[in-house]
Amino acid sequence: MKIDRRSFLALGVGVVAGNALSPVPAILTDDIAIWTQNWPWVPVPEIGGSAYADTTCQLCPGGCGISVRKVEERGVKIEGKKDHPVNNGGICALGLSGLQLLYGPTRVKTPLKRAGKRGEGKWIKISWDQAISEVAGKLNDLRSQEKAHTVAGISGSSSGTMTEIFRRFLTAYGSANFFHTPSIQDTYRLVFEFMHGKKADPGFDIENADFILSFGSSLLEGWGPPVRMLKASKKWKDTATKIIQIEPRLSRTALKAERWIPVTPGTEAVLALSLCHVIIKEGLYNKDFLANSTFGFEDYKAKNGEIKKGFKQLVMDDYSPEAASKITGLDPAAIILLAREFAKASAPLAIFGKGQGILPGSLSEAMAIHALNALCGSINRKGGIFALDVLENKELSEVALDGIAEAGLKQHKLVETPHNSSGCLNQAFSAILKGNSVNALLVLEANPLYTLSDSKSVKDAFDRIPFIASFSSFMDETAQYADMILPNHIYLERIEDVPLSMGFPKTVIGLSKPVFKPQYSTKHAGDTILLISKELGGSIADSFPWKNYEACLQHVLSDKMDVLKKKGFWTATDSFPDFKNAFRTASAKFEFQTDSLSSDLVNVKIEGDETYPLVLIPYETIRLSTGYIANPPFLTKAVEDTILKGKDSFIEINPKTAQASGFSEADMVLLQTPKGQARVRVHLEEGIMPGIIALPRGLGHTAYDNYIADKGINVNQLIGPVNDPVSGLDTAWGIRAKLSKA
């Protein structure tokens, strides 16, 4: 038959109709729906046997015990470890996000050598042998040119075998320029050095204190071991412990405190001494302790014979509630009331230090507050503050030196202070900017380019250092700006001792164990250092006789290792001698350091003049990681939209203050300080003192991954260091600032 239009149409219609009546459409519809339920681009997690592996978290100095849930070789969840002295099953949001770091895009997967300009992000992958021989070669050259002392090292932590090995390496190499990321621990150690005459770390028995006076410590925002503190807050509620939070901002701690006392920031020491004034005046102090175990309470004769004003006289003269009221902005009656409450409490405890303790803070302030504890005898007793002997591994501190090393160590150090200066990192960089040469910088688990204040100058200093090598596991700001990266295993892949962070009332060491085999071509920084030293040979190699880091750890902690391996942590049996033998000062007593408490010292100044009408303070929130570790995606997801929206940071400001300058919620404003400026958004918050603006730490990263980079402002760009006259540590709790329409 001939195919005309009509029959063709008929055919078409027939075909369509036929199909429509057949089961084909039904089957297709069904198949398509099934396909949407198994889209190939939606991952299907592999099933398998599930088991838990315990280790210690190292994402903050808290040292919580964690249990990692594994399905075959994959880690699927991190949970808090039950019956662990620190966190007993609890866990923080950062710890929970750990696996996103293990598998995340921010890992450095193999040794890298810079190809493009610094910070440009152009790298070439190199072998471990090449990486190690190149670093060793560089160091060898410097050594042979007798420039050993121009090599500097920065460690993220101030204790633990890794830090000690690192320091040991530098010493054996011939450089005294070893630094660590500063923290409040440095200041406290000086407090104990001055007042107790011994090397000690503070332990706060907050679980047993019944009246806690916190001078701005964000106890529930990541202070000390964060989870331990959060757990304590439950205990406080159960036992009706009184927490008094002194700070200009209604932080989480202030929220949970029984009372929030906003005082003019920087005047906390004055308040403390004024409390002492009332306590002494009303004779509420611990007479026995003061009479028998302290020196410098009454006036005393100094070595040169002159009569010096004692603590008692000093505070009676200069720190009356009325006088203090003018400075702190606190009503005298309130001061008197607070003093009485504190002194009459059975276990009062005063805690020094703003925020998480990232800022070392003023030594005078610390001593003023410690004096307050002393007045009430809250030292080395239940519910008080303990002076815990600093953990040190002698095996690692004594080093055999060759000639070059000895010569190098004699050289002028980057930072010269009467005390241990390894926490004066800011000064190290300003020294470099002043012209002191550093030819090589080694960075271990630290990120000074981000965490140090006045980040711009730090970067300038970096530009003057010809060679920077980082051991970082992540592409952090410092690593990104380095010349070579020798990536470390991350905490879940390596063995390491984790001495508990400052603040825990007992000396505890945790052990982090390799829960996973290394995901990438990384190397334990300990082994890397050992290999470099072998490469350098001579007395340096001799200083590291162990075949690898684990062997070294085994040797150094031999007495604790079994317990560590079995329980995952080791607890010292700290004993506290009675007050007769507790102090190693010249007087063998607790010494009030009156000359550090003069009014010019205790009022902690910040940078800036009247042209900046406002005061900018950084604050910490537990949903933002502030240290070397940046926020993993989950944690960032939990950040409120009143802190970060899109790429904009929000400043907290009191509605009154905002109104005065005509700003309303979410307005974009220009925030200027003597150190720099930034565009930020306004968040009106009743919970902040008028005249103060607060910006969170932990944002404004320029490195890591797209999930955190270029979000918000790094407050360190806006604040510069203010060095403590005595300790030389950074005391800049804020900076003067102004806002204008942007």
Binding site: V42, P45, L99, Y103, G104, P105, L255, K637, A638
Partner: protein
């Protein structure tokens, strides 16, 4: 939605959250994300497009400095029972993709069944339901941490808190192998309750008198969100602060302090 017949009494899993303990630290949020394979994007600051089964609300007493006070309120799915299992969402889902399980009191969500009409989201006064506006994407390699107990959701479906139902199933199996008829209280805990550092979240069977929640929920300071709507939720909140309790529901000026009706 018929009541279960049989010897063992129907369970009614629920929570009691102490708002005076809660510090808003965010552990519950992240624990939930990690446990339930919740996806994430580069920018999660638009909270109206950010999947957080457990979301922490923050609100204040409205007073000015320095009298101001703030409360953090963790909000999982409230697992409404409504009237006889007719919770707001279950009764509206056209495809029976979300259901009220009379044996456990848990409101389920069947991702492969849901066709994304979002009627359930409109019906939920707690905003506890979230839509997958985007394809879930894990950066290369990160999909390794996905848990096999919870299937990742595809674009275009609604998801929400399940009270970690998979943990219930695991606990049940375990109990079965060990020849027990009942599961222990601590054998089935949600990820958020387990992670909470201050133990502000207590989870258990509201019908079982040996479980802590059954007592805690009867405290004088206990309340539920929007009780007046008749959603009949299974998440109780506790606070000693009157203004917080008041914020739990809506009242006309004349109505507070609350009349017991």
């Amino acid at each position: 939605m018929k009541q279960e017949q049989g010897h063992s009494k129907a369970k009614k899993f629920g929570m009691v959250i102490d708002l005076d303990l809660c510090t808003g630290c965010g552990s519950c949020m992240v624990a939930c994300m990690a446990e339930n394979n919740v996806p994430f994007k580069e920018d999660e600051t638009d909270k109206l497009k950010s999947i957080t089964w457990m979301r922490i609300f923050k609100f204040s007493n409205g007073k000015t400095y320095p009298e101001t006070d703030v409360c953090y309120l963790p909000r999982p799915c409230q697992h409404c029972e409504g009237h006889g299992g007719h919770s707001p969402c279950v009764s509206v889902c056209p495809a029976t993709a979300t259901d009220y399980d009379a044996h456990t009191g848990i409101v389920s969500q069947i991702y492969t069944r849901c066709f994304g009409c979002r009627y359930c989201m409109g019906s939920c006064p707690y905003k506890a339901r979230y839509f997958n506006w985007f394809d879930p994407v894990w950066p290369d390699g990160m999909e390794q941490y996905l848990s096999p107990d919870v299937s990742p959701r595809m674009r275009g479906v609604v998801e929400k808190c399940s009270f970690c139902y998979h943990r219930y199933q695991i606990a049940k199996d375990k109990a079965h192998y060990e020849g027990q008829t009942e599961i222990e209280e601590d054998a089935y805990q949600t990820a958020c309750a387990q992670a909470c550092p201050v133990k502000a979240i207590t989870f258990g069977d509201l019908n079982n008198h040996s479980h802590a929640v059954s007592k805690l929920k009867n405290q004088p300071n206990a309340f539920r969100l929007l009780e007046r709507l008749g959603t009949n939720t299974k998440v109780y909140y506790v606070s000693g602060r009157e203004w917080v309790r008041r914020a739990g529901d809506n009242y006309l000026k004349a109505e507070w302090p609350k009349k017991t009706s």
